[in-house]
């Protein structure tokens, strides 16, 4: 038996298909198709959670995604634990484990419930006031305690083992909501030939037809019609129909985010399936058919387990075959609750009394009630309830005053009316408009190409709503280019009336009372809290919302917004539209991080770029460092070597023999056209027109503000062809910078730019034996110092493949950079290595490269410069062509601040103790005894141990630095002060003779 409260013959589930699940460790039996909520109710479990602030016992309020109370943690294993799942949406599966939240140590006995007793301390806005003093206590006491108790649910503590998928998709017509209107609209659009997507958050299509069993569509059961229509739509080639799929966000230009829950309902999901699939939909037209959400009545202690919306009770009965109680009370301001009472009674459930706060219910209801033997108390209100972990009685009073009557009940169902679900419309930036006659907000001005139909549009009458939906469907199809116009017809009868009702506090919970009448169950906001907010000066609903948290968080005010607004309006003595309505924000219901991240996890979090020689380097023991997305060989430790030893050996070997370095990541841009040199003249500070083909030059590029942007060696291959190199990190932005000037400032130049960064693998061979190493492999190029001096470039062949061979050096040694087409990179590297290794050369990594260039005082843009360094600051004035009339930065670098005295200039630093290595980033002062805060002269930009110099070396930006050469300065550290001497930036081979080999 799947629960004592299951009524034989009621509902649509199959009694034979039972399954077991656990809730807080207890085993229960449910039926296939049950939600967790329906299965627990079938087993008589009403207590499903504790409230957020007061830890009050709570049961289900609803039967769908509007549920504010029954939030559970669904746990498959430690890595797959999902908090804050609505029990009313989660389907049960065999072996499922659900755990309640927000309680300790157990749901039935919760220590936090003391907050309920202390509730006067926790009134709206309490944390703004209570935790102000003493100020110091915030960090040590208040924040840790609040953080410990705040939050809903517990996040998983292991990496998620599920996978998630994304699909961008486009359609003519997207229909949000698969109730009778959504299905009708989709059918009309699809039969007109439009491409259609239809989604619904429930497992089955039909929406309110799940409980509105009186409705017949095309002369058959409405819910059966919905299932058939969904089946018909899914068989059409131009339709994609998605159940268990929530439209959670409506963004600009009809861009709608849907999340499809693919496996959350399965006991043993196929690991091939993604857990969730994110659909990022761009629709030409959107039809919003999101229906309406029933409101609770606002009265004292309206939050006890067993008190729920009348539509929820009806859903549990008519769809799941579950009676929500054995003695059910009804409290309403609206006709639709009567239908629930009648259905319960007809299924043999004792319905104690219908309390209707109105004097005159809708036509025919009283006689039907009488026929069924139901007592109706009109003009009366429920003013309180009794019970601890479940409601045990309701207290009823006539509205005009009089004796209270206590009626024992074990469930109380209620309806204050229906709120059109304008969340999606509002998210689309549409402006809601207040309809005074029905006292509700409806879609007003549209901003995007969408239309609302049915209950969410305030169309209460179902046949009229269906007509509206059919018209919207065929209009949308026509507007998106469909030519066919078939007459899609959907007829219906037997629908109940959902209009009318009330918003705000009911009798007995008015301004003169201090009772706890909840409006926002999830955030524990009462009518009293709203009034307090108004008294404290919050006169805009946006302020009231933030002060009270009404309608915030994952709930987004689905059941509470209208009540909060009505109470605020009453307290302010204004009309509701004058107080305003808060914005409905995405997501409509919580969305998992997994579905947002989808494919971008692990290896796919970000591209990892590897050079053609990467795996050789890996095989030869390289340790890699991340440089942007690139993996670069950092150093190559041999057995017994730490990083320091390896780098020292590499640095020594390069200067004594030679080294091989993978420079493939350098950015490369091919600049081609008759105006190529003129263009480079404008982009670089240097002059290019006189550079002869076959020669290279070091260039500096500025931004318009006069600061250094990038640098690199440029080779002229022909009159109209340059091979430009950029820094590794600068490659994309430098190309963008050049394109920007070429396309928008200098569009008349005949020149084009093409990225060739990845066309060429680059093998730097540096050191005294560089020429000897490569000579046997090179054809067609004379490598002698006379034929191919420093800063020259030749095209020829190496190892039988084309090469662009540059005689350049970033180490100060004689050296070559061999460019070969990337797919040949590894083979050529191996051939070069075969020559180099017997001579005692080594492979060296980026760390040694950094040390070697620092020994020579070569800057690294981005390390020794930071976007505020001019060529003069960096000692690079020699690279500025004085005679050019224009280049980018020519004016910026003459700005007063950039030519002022006392700017920070790049200098060398040597520590007084040569063994001491400074920390990069350390500050430099003149007087180490000055009181804090000291006058800081600058900072260390690069610092290394130099094995070749036998001492530490550093570069620094120091105010007026060049004039301080020989001065002693200080670097204060936490534990000591380091004495340094200001030097030039070249520490090794100051005469620069070694490059000539």
């Amino acid at each position: 038996m799947s629960g004592a409260n299951r009524i034989a013959g009621a509902g649509r589930l199959t009694p034979a298909r039972s399954l077991r699940f656990s809730f807080d460790g207890e085993l229960y039996t449910g039926l296939e198709g049950d939600t967790l909520a329906s299965a627990l109710l079938a087993n008589g479990v009403h207590l499903m959670g504790r409230s957020f602030k007061y830890h009050r016992p709570r049961g289900v309020l609803g039967a769908g995604s509007e549920e504010p109370n029954a939030l559970m943690s669904i746990e498959r294993d430690r890595s797959r634990r999902q908090p804050n799942v609505r029990a009313t949406v989660q389907e049960v599966f065999e072996g499922m484990s659900a755990v309640s939240q927000n309680r300790w140590p157990s749901l039935a006995f919760d220590v936090g419930a003391v907050n309920n007793v202390l509730s006067p301390l926790f009134a709206a806005g309490f944390y703004y006031k209570t935790f102000m003093w003493p100020k110091r206590a915030w960090e040590k006491l208040y924040e840790p305690v609040i953080r410990g108790t705040a939050g809903l649910g517990v996040a998983p503590d292991e990496s998620d083992t599920d996978h998630y998928s994304n699909r961008y998709t486009h359609c003519d017509v997207l229909v949000l909501g698969g109730g009778v209107c959504g299905l009708s609209a989709a059918l009309a659009a699809a039969q007109s030939g439009a491409s259609v997507m239809l989604c619904d958050e429930q497992a089955q299509f039909g929406g309110a037809l799940a409980f509105e069993t009186g409705i017949r569509v095309h002369n058959e059961d409405g819910f059966a019609w919905a299932a058939q229509t969904a089946q018909k739509l899914s068989a059409m080639d131009n339709v994609r129909i998605l159940n268990r799929t929530t439209a959670f966000g409506y963004y600009a230009q009809n861009f709608v985010g849907l999340v499809e829950r693919v496996t959350d309902h399965l006991a043993d999901p196929d690991p091939a399936l993604p857990r969730e699939r994110l659909w990022q939909v761009r629709a030409k037209k959107v039809i919003i058919a999101t229906g309406a959400i029933e409101r609770p009545m606002v009265f004292a202690n309206n939050d006890r387990p067993g008190i729920m919306l009348s539509s929820a009770a009806r859903t549990y009965l008519n769809h799941y075959g579950v009676a929500v109680g054995t003695k059910v009370g009804v409290y309403t301001a609206n006709d639709s609750a009567y239908e629930a009472a009648f259905d319960l009674k007809r299924q043999g459930v004792a319905v104690e009394t219908i309390v209707d706060t109105r004097d005159a219910p809708g036509e025919g209801l009283l006689s039907t009630a009488a026929d069924l033997g139901l007592e109706v108390l009109t003009g009366q209100s429920v003013t309180d309830t009794k019970g601890a972990r479940r409601v045990s009685a309701m207290v009823v009073r006539p509205n005009g005053g009089g004796a209270a009557r206590t009626i024992p009940v074990d469930a109380l169902i209620m309806s204050a009316g229906w709120t059109p679900s304008v969340h999606m419309f509002s998210q689309s930036r549409g402006k809601v408009a207040f309809d005074a006659s029905t006292q509700r907000f409806l879609p007003g001005d549209y901003v995007q190409d969408c239309v609302s139909v049915g209950a969410c549009n305030g169309t209460d009458d179902m046949p009229a709503a269906i007509e509206e939906a059919l018209a919207a469907g065929s209009n949308a199809a026509r507007a998106t280019g469909s030519k066919r116009s078939p007459k899609t017809k959907v007829s219906c009868e037997g629908a109940g009336n959902w209009s009318g009702g009330m918003s705000g506090a009911a009798a007995g919970a008015g301004p003169d009372t201090t009772v706890k009448a909840f409006i926002d169950f999830q955030n524990d906001v009462t009518a009293k809290d709203i009034r307090l907010a108004v008294r404290e000066g919050m006169h805009s609903i946006e302020h009231v919302k933030r002060f009270t948290t009404n309608g915030m968080a994952s709930d987004q005010g689905k059941t509470s917004n209208m009540h909060g607004l009505a109470i605020a309006a009453e307290a302010l003595d204004r009309e509701m539209p004058q107080v305003g309505l808060t914005t409905f924000r995405a997501p409509y219901t919580p969305v998992t991080f997994g579905s947002i991240v989808n494919h971008a996890r692990g290896k796919l979090f970000d591209p990892t770029r590897r050079t053609p020689m990467h795996y050789w380097e890996e095989e030869h023991g390289a340790v890699f460092e991340d440089v942007g997305q690139w993996k670069r060989a950092w150093y190559y430790p041999r057995v017994g070597e730490d990083m320091h030893a390896a780098v020292n050996r590499e640095c020594r070997t390069v200067r004594e023999v030679a080294g091989l370095f993978d420079a493939s990541t350098l950015g490369k841009i091919e600049v081609v056209g008759p105006d190529a040199a003129r263009f480079l003249d404008l982009i670089y500070t240097n002059g290019w027109t006189k550079l002869k083909p076959g020669r290279c030059k070091y260039g500096i590029m500025l931004r318009e503000d006069g600061f250094i942007y990038d640098d690199g060696v440029v080779a002229r291959l022909a009159e109209d062809r340059f091979h430009v190199t950029t820094t590794t990190g600068g490659a994309p932005r430098v190309l963008n910078h050049m394109e920007d000037y070429l396309q928008t400032e200098f569009p008349d130049l005949d020149v084009w730019l093409t990225s060739t960064s990845e066309q060429w693998a680059v093998i730097a061979v540096q050191g005294p034996k560089a020429r000897e190493i490569i000579a046997p492999l090179v054809e067609d190029i004379d490598l002698s110092g006379e034929a191919m001096p420093h800063m020259s470039a030749r095209e020829g062949k190496i190892c039988g493949v084309p090469t662009r061979l540059f005689r350049v050096s970033f180490t100060g040694e004689a050296g070559f950079e061999i460019n070969v087409p990337a797919d040949h990179g590894r083979a050529v590297w191996e051939a070069v290595w075969a020559q180099a290794e017997p001579l005692g050369a080594c492979a060296y990594g980026t760390e040694a490269m950094h040390v070697l260039r620092a020994e020579k005082g070569f800057i690294i843009v981005g390390q020794d410069t930071d976007g505020t360094v001019t060529p003069d600051d960096a000692g690079l004035n020699w690279a500025i062509a004085k005679s050019k009339p224009d280049f980018v930065g020519i004016r910026g670098m003459k700005r007063p601040d950039l030519v002022a005295e006392g700017r920070k200039q790049l200098v060398g630093l040597k520590t007084r103790n040569p063994m001491t290595v400074l920390e990069e980033g350390a500050q430099i002062v003149a007087d180490p005894n000055e009181a804090v805060p000291m006058t800081m002269l600058g900072h260390v930009t690069s610092s290394y141990w130099s094995e070749n110099c036998g001492c530490s070396i550093a570069m620094a930006l120091v105010a007026n630095g060049r004039a301080r050469r020989g001065e002693t300065l200080y670097v204060p550290m936490p534990d000591r002060t380091i004495e340094v001497e200001v030097t030039g930036t070249v520490f090794f081979d100051e005469e620069g003779e070694r490059v000539n080999g």
Binding site: Y168, L273, K603, P607, T754, S757, E758, Q759, C799, V801
Partner: protein
């Protein structure tokens, strides 16, 4: 060990393959490629030299007509930019060098690599990371575009109803292939 006289060519995705019921993802064969930039007056002579009419409409490509040039394609990338791909290793740079009208040709044979995605789920797999509308009426056979796939830039060509060519830069190919493989785990069509 490489022969010093003929350095072997090693394409970045050699040996990779994904095959499922609905899609197959394989590296394309090595090819020669150039990026061609030209003023309008050079389009006709370049087309003649290459044996393929350089397309002038956005998002279109053209195939070489002559059977001896089978497989050579010219892809519209921008208003003065084409990517020309020849799967038979032709020297495209040499062909262009004969054209005197103003243009720029740059060899990118090794910069790019390509992946073929084929099968009834091919469009769906690419839609996992490409935000463009790839429906056959919007992105028909022969359509091509530079665009994005996840966090990488690609050039996408629809070679057939269910066959796409995905061109990307060499060092992004590992990411692009892995992305397509991950997308192919989800069999939605």
């Amino acid at each position: 060990m490489a022969d010093r006289n003929t350095a072997l060519r090693a394409a970045p995705l050699d040996g990779r393959l994904v095959r499922s019921a609905h899609v197959e993802i394989v590296p394309a064969d090595v090819a020669s490629r150039i990026v061609l930039r030209a003023r309008p007056e050079a389009i006709a002579p370049l087309s003649r030299a290459l044996g393929v009419k350089l397309p002038e409409e956005p998002k279109t490509s053209a195939k070489a007509k002559a059977s001896r040039l089978a497989g050579r394609i010219a892809l519209w990338i921008g208003p003065d930019e084409w990517l020309v791909v020849d799967p038979n290793g032709a020297d495209l740079m040499a062909l262009c060098s004969k054209v005197k009208k103003l243009h720029s040709a740059v060899d990118v044979s090794h910069r790019n690599t390509a992946i073929l995605v084929a099968g009834e789920a091919a469009q769906s797999v690419i839609s996992a990371g490409c935000p463009q509308d790839l429906s056959p009426n919007i992105f028909p056979v022969g359509a091509c575009s530079r665009t994005v796939l996840g966090k990488a830039e690609i050039v996408l060509v629809r070679e057939d109803a269910h066959v796409f060519r995905v061109e990307c830069w060499r060092s992004f190919s590992d990411y692009v292939f892995a992305f397509l493989a991950d997308a192919a785990r989800d069999a939605v069509i």
